[in-house]
C-alpha cells in the first residue's frame, strides 16, 4: 500500500504554513552545545591537543568526539560533512569512517560493520539512549536506517569494546548519533525561523525534503520541530555483477530489462520530530523530545524475489516504524557532581512484513513490535586533585531498559479469502527482556604525560518468554549477571604524539532474537536456542596518534578474542523444531550456538588528514581485518562435509579504504569542491553461512574503486546548494554481503536553507 499521499499531504500542509512571513527576530549563532551525550562529552573546553582520532577534525575546531576521557579508536561525521557528502541515510553517512563497512541487504536498509561485526554486536545510540533492543538480529539489520539523517547533528563511531560504559552489545563498537538542536537566540529576545531542505538523486529517482521550525527564547527555551518525507524509486546500478569464481551473473538482485535497474529497491519514507530544551536555570536543562520514522513498502531485496523464485514473489516491509520519546534532566548544581543527567525514554519499533506469492495466491504476513522503557542516570564527579600533578576523574551511572515483544504471523490464501493465524510469530508473543547495569569509570592523570584509566560494570539481564506447544518452542526464563571492565593508558610521547593502550572486556547477552526467533535469514532458515549463554569479548588495542595543526594521523592495531561467540551451526532437517515446515524445506538450516573454542578478529586501521595551502584537505583511511573461529559444522550431527577445524568468520570486510580531497577557500560562504573515493579488495574468505548466502556471489565479492565528485556553493551559512556526481566511472560494485549493487553514475542534489545551521563546525 502506497502511503506517499499522506507524506505529501503532511509536507505540503507544513510548507504552506511555513510560507507565511516569518516573524524572525535576532538569532545569533553562538553555541555548539547539545544535551546529547552531555554527561560525558561536553565537559571540557576543547584544546588543540585533544583533537579526536582518525583525522575528522582540523584547525583545532571542536568535534563530536571531543571530550572522551581517553583516546580510543574513534571518528566522527559532522553535520557539515553530512551536507557535503549527501549520504542517502544514516548508515551511508558512515562510509568514509575507518574500520566501518556498510552492508546493504536492501536500498532501504544499511548495517554498519565495525571491526568485522554488526547487528547485535554493535550498539546504536541516539542522544545517549540505546536503540538496540532485544530483537536485533545476529546479521545485518535495518535499524540505523530508521534514524533520519536530516535530524542528526553528528555521528560518532567508537571502535572496539565499550560495555563498561554502554552495556550489552557493545562488542565491536558503538555508533552514537547526536540530534540537531535549535540554537539559542540572544538574551531577552525570541525568534521563530523556518528551515527547508530539498534533495534528490538520479540513480534512484528519489526526491524528498524536510521543513522545520526553530523557536528560541533567549537561552531559556529552544524548540525544534520538523517533518520530512522521501519517495525512492528502484535503484539503478551500473550493471550485473559477475561472480569471481564462475563468471556468471549474481542471482541477487533481480535486474529489470535494462540490465541496470535493481528490482525490489524502492520505498517511501516519512519522518517527524520535535524537541524542546528548557533551561530553568543556567546550569540546568530539561528536554523533551519525540522522533518518529515511518517507512513504507520497503522490499528486502534479496527476497524480492529470492534467487530462483518467480519475478513477482517479494518480501516487503509494509511498515518499518520507530518512535522514540524521551525526557532528560541535566544539572550541574548537584553537590559533588560536575554534571548529572537523568533520562527516561520510551521507544517502539514496529514492523509489518509480507511475503507475497501472487502466482500461488498466497501471502504470509508477520507483525512484530518491541516497546522499550528505559531509564538512565549518568554523572561525572568533580575532578579531585590528589597531588599537584595527580588529577582524578570519575564518571558513574546506572541504566535499565525493559522490552516487551508482541509478535504474530498469518497466512492468507488470497483466492479463497482465507486467513489463518499461525501458532507463533517470528518471536514468542509477549516475551520480556530486561537489561541494565551500574558502572564506574575513572581516570588518573599524571601531569600532561600519563593517563591511566579503568572502569567496571555490574550488569543484569533477564529474559522471559512463554513457550508455544504448537510449534515446540521452549519457554525462556534466564538471567545473567556479567561483570565487565576495561583498563587503559595514554602516554604522551611528545607535544603532538601519543601512545594509547587499552584492554577491554565486553559482553553480549543472548537476546530474544537468539533465544526465541525463527526466521529466514540470508544464509538459510535460523531457529532458536533457548539455552544460549553470553558471548564475551576481550579486546587489546594499541594506537599511535599524531596531532598537529596541519597533519593528523592515527594507526590502530587490535585483537579481539570472542569467547562463547554465538555462531550459526548448520543443522539437518530432522533436527528442526516441530511444526516448522519452513525449516525442513529450507536449503540450509542453522541454529545459534555458543562456540566452544575462541574466535579471533584482528586488524589494523589508520587515517591521515593533511591540510595544505589553506583551502585544501586530504584525508585517507584504510582498514584491514581478519577473523576466524571454530568450525560450527563440526558440532552438528549428520553434517560432516566441511572438516576444517577453523573457518573464517562471517562477512568480515575485505581490505578497504577511502580518500577525500576537499577544497574550500572560505568557511562561511563561497564555493567548495571535493573528490571522494572508496575502495575495497575482493573478499573470498567466506564462512560456511556465507557460501549459502545468495547475497555473496560464488567465490566472494569482487573488489572495487568508486569515485564521487562533490560541488557546492554556500550563499551564506544558511543557504547551501550542493551537488554530488556519484560513481564517476559507472563502476559495478557491491559492498561485501550486500544484496544490492551501489548506485550507477548519477547526480545528487541538495538545496538547504536552515537558519539554525551552525553546528557544523568541524
Amino acid at each position: 500500500m502506497r502511503r506517499m499521499p499522506i507524506t505529501a499531504l503532511g509536507v505540503l500542509c507544513t510548507m504552506a504554513w511555513l510560507s507565511s512571513p516569518a516573524r524572525a527576530q535576532n538569532l545569533e549563532q553562538q553555541e555548539d552545545e547539545s544535551t546529547a551525550q552531555a554527561e560525558a562529552e561536553a565537559d571540557k573546553k576543547p584544546t588543540s591537543k585533544e583533537i579526536p582520532a582518525m583525522g575528522t577534525t582540523i584547525r583545532g575546531k571542536r568535534s563530536p568526539t571531543h571530550g572522551s576521557s581517553v583516546e580510543r579508536a574513534a571518528s566522527a561525521v559532522t553535520r557539515e560533512q553530512l551536507v557535503e557528502r549527501q549520504p542517502r541515510s544514516a548508515p551511508d553517512a558512515l562510509r568514509y569512517e575507518p574500520g566501518v563497512f556498510v552492508q546493504k541487504t536492501a536500498h532501504a536498509q544499511g548495517s554498519a560493520f565495525i571491526r568485522g561485526v554488526t547487528g547485535q554486536q554493535t550498539l546504536l545510540m541516539f542522544d545517549g539512549i540505546r536503540l538496540n533492543n532485544s530483537t536485533y538480529r545476529q546479521g545485518p539489520n535495518q535499524y540505523f536506517f530508521t534514524l533520519d539523517a536530516q535530524t542528526i547533528d553528528s555521528i560518532t563511531v567508537q571502535r572496539g569494546g565499550a560495555s563498561t560504559r554502554y552495556g550489552s552489545d557493545a562488542i565491536g563498537g558503538v555508533i552514537r548519533a547526536r540530534p540537531l538542536l535549535a540554537l539559542p537566540s540572544t538574551p531577552k529576545t525570541s525568534s521563530l525561523k523556518p528551515g527547508i531542505t530539498f534533495y534528490g538523486a538520479s540513480a534512484d529517482q528519489s526526491y524528498g525534503g524536510r521543513v522545520q521550525l526553530a523557536y528560541s527564547q533567549g537561552r531559556t527555551l529552544r524548540i525544534l520541530a520538523g517533518i520530512g518525507g522521501r519517495q525512492v524509486d528502484e535503484l539503478e546500478g551500473s550493471g550485473v555483477l559477475l561472480a569471481p569464481q564462475t563468471k556468471e551473473s549474481a542471482l541477487i538482485p533481480m535486474m529489470r530489462d535494462d540490465g541496470r535497474t535493481q528490482a525490489g529497491t524502492g520505498f517511501d519514507e516519512l519522518t517527524f520530530d520535535s524537541r524542546m530544551d528548557y533551561k530553568p536555570h543556567r546550569s540546568d536543562t530539561l528536554s523533551f523530545a519525540l522522533y518518529g520514522y515511518r517507512q513504507y513498502d520497503a522490499p528486502r531485496t534479496d527476497q524480492c524475489p529470492a534467487a530462483y523464485a518467480p519475478f513477482n514473489e517479494c518480501l516487503v516491509y509494509d511498515e518499518q516504524f520507530r518512535t522514540l520519546a524521551y525526557a532528560t534532566y541535566q544539572t550541574k548544581r548537584l553537590t559533588g557532581f560536575r554534571r548529572l543527567r537523568i533520562t527516561g525514554s520510551w521507544q517502539q519499533q514496529h514492523e509489518r512484513k509480507t511475503l507475497d506469492r501472487p502466482s500461488s495466491f498466497v501471502r504470509h504476513t508477520g507483525r512484530d513490535e518491541v516497546s522499550t522503557l528505559g531509564v538512565s542516570v549518568v554523572g561525572s564527579l568533580k575532578p579531585s586533585r590528589l597531588t599537584p600533578s595527580l588529577l582524578f576523574k570519575t564518571r558513574l551511572g546506572v541504566d535499565h531498559y525493559a522490552d516487551t515483544v508482541a509478535s504474530k504471523s498469518w497466512t492468507e490464501l488470497t483466492d479463497l479469502e482465507v486467513l489463518v493465524e499461525r501458532s507463533r510469530g517470528q518471536y514468542l508473543d509477549n516475551s520480556r527482556y530486561h537489561q541494565g547495569g551500574t558502572f564506574i569509570d575513572s581516570e588518573l592523570k599524571w601531569g600532561r604525560v600519563v593517563s591511566l584509566l579503568g572502569g567496571a560494570r555490574v550488569a543484569w539481564i533477564d529474559a522471559q518468554a512463554f513457550g508455544d506447544a504448537g510449534s515446540g518452542s521452549e519457554p525462556v526464563d534466564t538471567s545473567w549477571f556479567p561483570v565487565t571492565g576495561h583498563l587503559g593508558a595514554r602516554l604522551k610521547l611528545s607535544a603532538i604524539d601519543a601512545l594509547n593502550l587499552s584492554w577491554d572486556h565486553s559482553y553480549r547477552a543472548p537476546n530474544l532474537d537468539d533465544l526465541t526467533s525463527r526466521q529466514f535469514t540470508g544464509p538459510g532458515f535460523q531457529f532458536e536456542n533457548a539455552a544460549l549463554g553470553p558471548e564475551v569479548a576481550h579486546t587489546l588495542e594499541l594506537g599511535l596518534t599524531r596531532r598537529t595543526r596541519r597533519l593528523q594521523w592515527d594507526l590502530w592495531a587490535y585483537r579481539t578474542e570472542l569467547q562463547g561467540a554465538i555462531v550459526r551451526r548448520p543443522m539437518p532437517p530432522e533436527d528442526c523444531p516441530p511444526d516448522t515446515p519452513g525449516c525442513q524445506a529450507s536449503w540450509t538450516r542453522f541454529q545459534l550456538i555458543n562456540a566452544q573454542d575462541p574466535s579471533w578478529i584482528y586488524g589494523l586501521e589508520g587515517g591521515v588528514l593533511v591540510g595544505f595551502a589553506d583551502a585544501w584537505q586530504l584525508r585517507v583511511t584504510a582498514a584491514w581485518a581478519k577473523g576466524e573461529g571454530p568450525n560450527p559444522a563440526l558440532l552438528s550431527t549428520n553434517i560432516a562435509a566441511d572438516e576444517r577445524t577453523r573457518v573464517p568468520l562471517s562477512r568480515i570486510p575485505p581490505l578497504n579504504g577511502t580518500l577525500e580531497l576537499r577544497w574550500r577557500p572560505s568557511e562561511k560562504r563561497g564555493p567548495y569542491a571535493g573528490l571522494g573515493v572508496r575502495g575495497a579488495m575482493l573478499q573470498d574468505q567466506l564462512a560456511l553461512s556465507d557460501v549459502s548466502d545468495e547475497r555473496i556471489p560464488a567465490g566472494g565479492t569482487p573488489g572495487f574503486v568508486v569515485g564521487d565528485l562533490r560541488l557546492g556553493y554556500r550563499f551564506s551559512r544558511q543557504l547551501i546548494l550542493g551537488l554530488v556526481m556519484e560513481n564517476l566511472t559507472d563502476q559495478i560494485y557491491r559492498y561485501h554481503g550486500s544484496a544490492i549493487n551501489g548506485p550507477a553514475r548519477g547526480v545528487q542534489m541538495r538545496l538547504q536553507y536552515q537558519p539554525n545551521f551552525s553546528r557544523g563546525k568541524s
Binding site: M254, V418, A641
Partner: protein, 379 residues
Amino acid sequence: MKKSTHLLALSLSSIVLLGCPQKDPEVTDAGTTPIADAGANSDAGSNLDNGTDCQTVPNEDMGICSVANDAYLPRQNNSADDSWDACISDDNTYHLAGDSTPSSVARVEAFDRIGALLWDHSITPPADNFVQAKLIYAEDSGVGSRVARRYDTHYPKPPNGESCQDEGVPAQYPDYCVGPATLEPIINEAFLQGGQGNDPALNSARVRAALMWFFYVSAVKEGMSCAAKAKDCDSSWAYHTGGTDRDNPIGLGRAIKRVAPETYNQAFDGNLAIRCWRDLDSAETAENEALQLRAVNQLDAALIQGFAAIIKDELDHADCSTGLYRDSALEFVRTVAPLFNRPFAEKDPTAAAAFLSGLEGTVNIPTLTGYVFNAFNCN
C-alpha cells in the same frame, strides 16, 4: 508569539497522528481446523451416492523392462557385473552427496500430508480439507514454492538466457517452464474449486496428478543440475523416494512401487547411478557429461515406465469402478495425459495422439488402456 506557539503545537500534534500502523488482519472462520485433525474429518459427502470403488491389485502388469546395456546395476553383485567403475553406490545404498538430508524431503512429506487430506480417506474431501491442504502446499519453501519455479530439462532452454522466473517467459515456453506455465495453474484452480466445495473428487485427483508429475520432473531436473551442485543429486533421490531407503519409499516412489515394484527398483538404481557418476566425477562442476546422461537417462526411463504403470492402473481403476471413483481416476489421467504425451509419443506417436483425443468426450477405457499397454508393454 503566543499564536505562533499554538500553531507550532497544533502542527506537531498533527504530525504525530500521521503514520499509525495498520490493524491486524481478521482471521476468517474457514480454514481454522487444525491440520492434524483435518485428515480424520473426511467423510463429507458420504451420504451421497459416490459409486463403487474397486480396488485394483496391480503387479507389474506391463512386465519388467530390460535396462540399457550400459546401465548401473548395484543389485547385481554390487555393480561388479556392469561397466561402471567402483563407486560409492556399489553397496546398493544411497549415500548423501551434500551435508545433510535434502530439503526436498520436506516437500515429499508435504505431498503425503496433502494426500491424507484429499485422497487417502475419502473420495469427497470436504472444502476445509482443501483449505488445509493448500496451506500445506503454501508453506514457506514448501512444495508450492518449487512448483512455481520448476522447469523440465527434456525441453530446450529459452534463448538469450531467459529464465522461467522472468515475467512472460513461462507463457512463451510452457513445455520448458512446466511448473509456472502448466502445473501451478492446474493446482491453483483445483485448490480454489475444492476449497469452495466444488467437485472434490475431481479436484483432488487434479492436485494428485499435477504434484506427481512435478515430482517426476523434479527428480530428473535435479539429476541434471547436480553437475553444478553435487547436493542436487540428493534432491533427485529425495523427489523420487522421499529420502528413504529402497524398501520404504514415500511420495512418487511409493506410488510406482505399488503398481510396478521392479520398475521402482530400477528407478532407485537410477538414483544410485546418478550418485555413482557424481562420485566418479567429483570436481566442483562435473565434467563427464556422457556418464551423467547415462545415469539420468536410466532414472528417467524407469520413472516414465513407472508413470505409465500408474496411468494404466488409474484406467483399470476407472474401468472397474463407478460414480465419483470412476470420474476421479479418469480425471487423474486427463490431467497428466498432456504432460505424459512427450514420452508417450517417443514410444508411439500415433497411439499417443489417439490416447489424448480419446480422453475427450465419451471415454472408451479399454481402448485407452490398450494404447498405454501396447506402447509400454515389456512382457
